[in-house]
Structures are given as C-alpha cells and as structure tokens.
C-alpha cells in the first residue's frame, strides 16, 4: 500500500469510529444482557413493593397455631395483590427480550445430567396447572425442586419470590401468596 492511501485509510477509520466513541462518552457503556437484567430486577422490585404494601394490610401472614389463620392471610394477600395488579398479563415481567435472555441462560444448564435428573423428579404436569397471572399455584400439586445450579445462574430474587418449573415452563412464583406472578413458556426446551 502506498503511503498516501495508507494515510487516507487511517483518516477514514478515525472518522468512522469517532462518532460512536463520542456517543459512548455521553452514555455509560452497558452491554445488552446487563441492561436486560437490570430491567428484570426493576420489574421484580416493582412487584415486591406491591406485595409488601399488600402484606402490610391486615390480616398479616404471621406465625400462628391456627392453620386457618395461615389460609385466610394467604387468601387476603392474593386478593390485595390481585386488586393492585389488575390487568397484569404474561410477559409484564418476563418481557420478550428478558425471556429470550433467560432461555439463553437456562438451556445449556438444563441439558446437564444432574439438572435433568432434578427437573424430572416429582414434577407437576403442565396439564394440572392453570397458568393464570395472579392465579394460585394448585395446593395439591408438588412444587418441583429448583435445580441449585440453575438458581445460581439466574438473578437473585427478593425474599419469597422464587423460580419454579412446570414442565418446560419457568414460573415466577410468590411463595407467600402462592400465586403465579409471570412465566416463560418453553424456557428450557
């Protein structure tokens, strides 16, 4: 390459890269996964705030000798959350972009031998569970054990919000209200 062409190419390259660098200087460098995870966390925290507000209302879910009190407090919580989240729908927390990220995180781990073994144990069948947002997780069905390696790969959740599996669906479950907050269809297959 002749020196003049070499110099011109260098100038062009500088010009081509100058604008993006200027933009990046104005905006903090955030990769897209981190942005999606931050978005997910914000949406979950928003739910947690609703739940806390609902939980603070009477009758609270607290230690008791009466199983009836637990059931009534749980039911009351379901109603208050339902009212506060009226109109909530699948995908409000697991947006399509967040769901795609979760699938990408989950699928390699779900193929691991030990993870597969846990997922196939005592799992509730999809047919037995109506996946309704704000709806109950059926009391008579077992809760599939969440493989620890998967839990360690996913973002940590606030207390009493948990990841559970129903067949290949990933459920976001409220453990206090025993309700389904959101879900990702075919998260692991």
């Amino acid at each position: 390459m002749r020196p003049s062409i070499f110099a011109a190419s260098g100038v062009l390259l500088l010009l081509a890269t100058a604008t993006p660098f200027a933009d990046r200087a104005q905006q903090p460098p955030v990769n897209s996964d981190a942005r999606l995870l931050a978005d997910f966390k914000a949406r979950v925290n928003q739910y947690d705030a609703i739940r806390k507000k609902a939980d603070d209302s009477a009758p609270p879910l607290k230690k008791t000798e009466e199983p009836r009190d637990i059931r009534e407090a749980q039911q009351g919580l379901v109603e208050r959350i339902g009212a506060a989240r009226a109109g909530a729908k699948q995908g409000d927390i697991f947006t399509p972009e967040i769901a795609a990220l979760f699938r990408r995180l989950l699928r390699p781990e779900a193929k691991e031998k030990d993870t597969k073994a846990i997922l196939k144990e005592d799992k509730p069948s999809r047919a037995t569970i109506s996946l309704k947002i704000n709806g109950p997780y059926p009391d008579k069905q077992p809760l599939a054990t969440s493989p620890p390696e998967i839990l360690l790969k996913l973002p940590t959740l606030p207390k009493d919000i948990e990841y559970r599996f129903v067949d290949s669906y990933l459920i976001l479950r409220d453990a206090r209200a025993n309700t389904i907050i959101d879900y990702i269809p075919n998260a692991i297959s």
Binding site: L61, K140, P147, P148
Partner: protein, 297 residues
C-alpha cells in the same frame, strides 16, 4: 422325632433366635443428661400407615422420653388447608403434642412453604433455620427444594458461628442414597458437602426416599435417610457401596440419643421391631480437617 419333641425344639430355637437378635440390637443408653430425639420423614399422608407409625412413636416415648421430633419434609401431602393440618399432623401426633413434645419441620417438595408460619412446626416463619436445644448441640434445618445463594450464605455464616457444637443438618433430599427412584442428589451435594466439611458437620438426616438407609460415613460425616413414616417404596433401595444398612419392607421412625461424643440410634418399624441400631463415635476435629483437605501449618 416325636411331634411333641419337635414342637419343643422349635420353641427353643425361636427363643434362642429372639435372644440373639435382642443381644445384637444395640439398646439406647437412656442416660439422664443426654439429648434424646426422634425422626420421622415423608409422614403427612393422613393414612392408616402414618397413624400406625405415630402410635408406635408415642408408645416408644414411654420407655425413651425424647424431647422433640425432627421432620424430614413432605409433612403435608396433597394440600395444606386447616383439615390437612388436622388429619396429617395434629390428630396422629396428638398424644405427643399434648405431652409437650416439640416438632421441628423441614420442607419437602410436597409442602407449601407457608407451613413455616404454623407454630406446631417450630420453623419460626423461615424456610431454613437453626436451633440449639441443649448446650453443645446445634441443628440446621434446610430447604433443599430451593437451595439459592441467600440460603447458602446463611448456612455458611451459621455453621461458622456454631463453634465446637455437634452440628446436625436435616433436610428433605439426600446427598447420598441407594434409591432406585431418586438416588443421590449430586448437584445439592456439590454445593453443600464443601460447607459441611469446612465447618465440621457431624451428621445429616434426610427423607424423600420412602425407605430407611444408613450410609457408610462419607468424609467423616454420618448420613441417614428416614423417609418411611407413612409412605413406602418397597424394593427400591438397592444395596450399593454406600449402604451400611437399609430397610424398605415396612414403615419406620428413628430414635436418637447423643451422649457426649457418641450418637446412639435405632430404626424401628410400625410393628415395634428394631431394624437397625448402633453407636457412632463423632469424628475428631483432626480427622475432619483431613477429610476437608485442611492441613495444619
């Protein structure tokens, strides 16, 4: 042989066999100042088998006055409404509850985590918790259905703070098992065993498998599976290299006594037959450090 002589010989043989069996069956010391407790696992069916085990459990307290019962999870199958608590817990164990015996529950995959708010399970409103019923002995109840980072961090902190106490963990899924239907939970073991070794856990009790199995000591830790207090999976426990003793042809519960550095145990059927018993010496700190790969400077 004359029929009468034959019958006498049979009676004599039966007597000798029974005496030999009784001699082999290690009796519990029943010492005045020891810690005595019982274990039931996978108990909450509300079936006649649960009631039969519960009855024998209550009867055994007449001779062996244990203070509390550990529950290995699946405390309430198929529902957790008020009637479930009554039929699957309060009624079968009424004589014990009336006598002031405490039950400490861990959660199984058939349990609603809100069982933790029920005072009768003494979980203090938490999925995982610790308690020290006597100076020198500490228990850690874990939720093996949901072993997330907050629980692992909590366990590490609590184990580190527990000093030289006996450290006894109990939870639903067994880390080692010869069960055909479930087997060892390898992933859980990968996470928990290093913590157990690092902090010198002595004994681990689990359920989930509907049989009894005593595992050969693994890296200085004793493991028991006791998940047959109402459910039974006959023929499921294969004899593997892990097995010290197993039993899967009847329902059972366990009685435990800690006397200084020795754990005495019995596994007893709903018919009152002792199917396993013995005394296990707690591993020394030096041995535990060796198993954990910690070398002295």
């Amino acid at each position: 042989m004359h029929p009468c002589r034959f019958r006498n010989a049979l009676v004599l043989f039966a007597l000798v066999a029974a005496t030999l069996a009784a001699a082999q069956e290690a009796a519990l010391p029943n010492a005045a100042d020891s810690l005595k407790f019982a274990i039931i696992g996978d108990s909450g069916t509300g079936s006649s088998s649960q009631y039969a085990v519960a009855s024998k459990l209550a009867e055994s307290r007449g001779k062996f006055p244990y203070e509390f019962v550990l529950m290995m999870g699946d405390n309430l199958y198929s529902g957790s409404g008020p009637k479930d608590f009554e039929k699957k817990f309060e009624r079968p164990y009424k004589p014990l509850l009336d006598a002031g015996v405490k039950f400490y529950a861990s959660l199984g995959n058939h349990d609603n985590p809100n069982e933790r708010f029920y005072k009768g399970f003494n979980m203090n409103g938490e999925r995982f918790y610790t308690f020290r019923p006597k100076l020198g002995v500490r228990f850690f109840a874990l939720d093996s259905n949901y072993m997330d980072k907050p629980q692992l961090d909590w366990l590490e902190k609590q184990l580190a703070a527990s000093g030289s106490d006996w450290k006894i963990c109990f939870f639903h899924h067994p880390l080692y098992s010869s069960g055909g239907a479930h087997g060892s939970d390898v992933q859980l073991r990968t996470l928990l065993e290093p913590l157990f070794l690092k902090h010198g856990v002595d004994v681990v009790f689990a359920g989930h498998e509907h049989f009894y199995e005593r595992i050969k000591p693994q890296k200085g830790i004793y493991y028991f599976i006791s998940g047959g207090a109402a459910k039974l999976r006959e023929g499921d426990v294969g004899r593997t290299d892990l097995t010290a003793k197993s039993f899967d042809t009847g329902y059972h519960f366990m009685l435990i006594e800690l006397v200084k550095d020795t754990l005495h145990f019995q596994a007893i059927t709903d018919q009152g037959r002792v199917v396993d018993s013995g005394a296990l010496q707690r591993f020394s700190d030096v041995d535990k450090k060796k198993f954990a790969g910690i070398t002295s400077p």
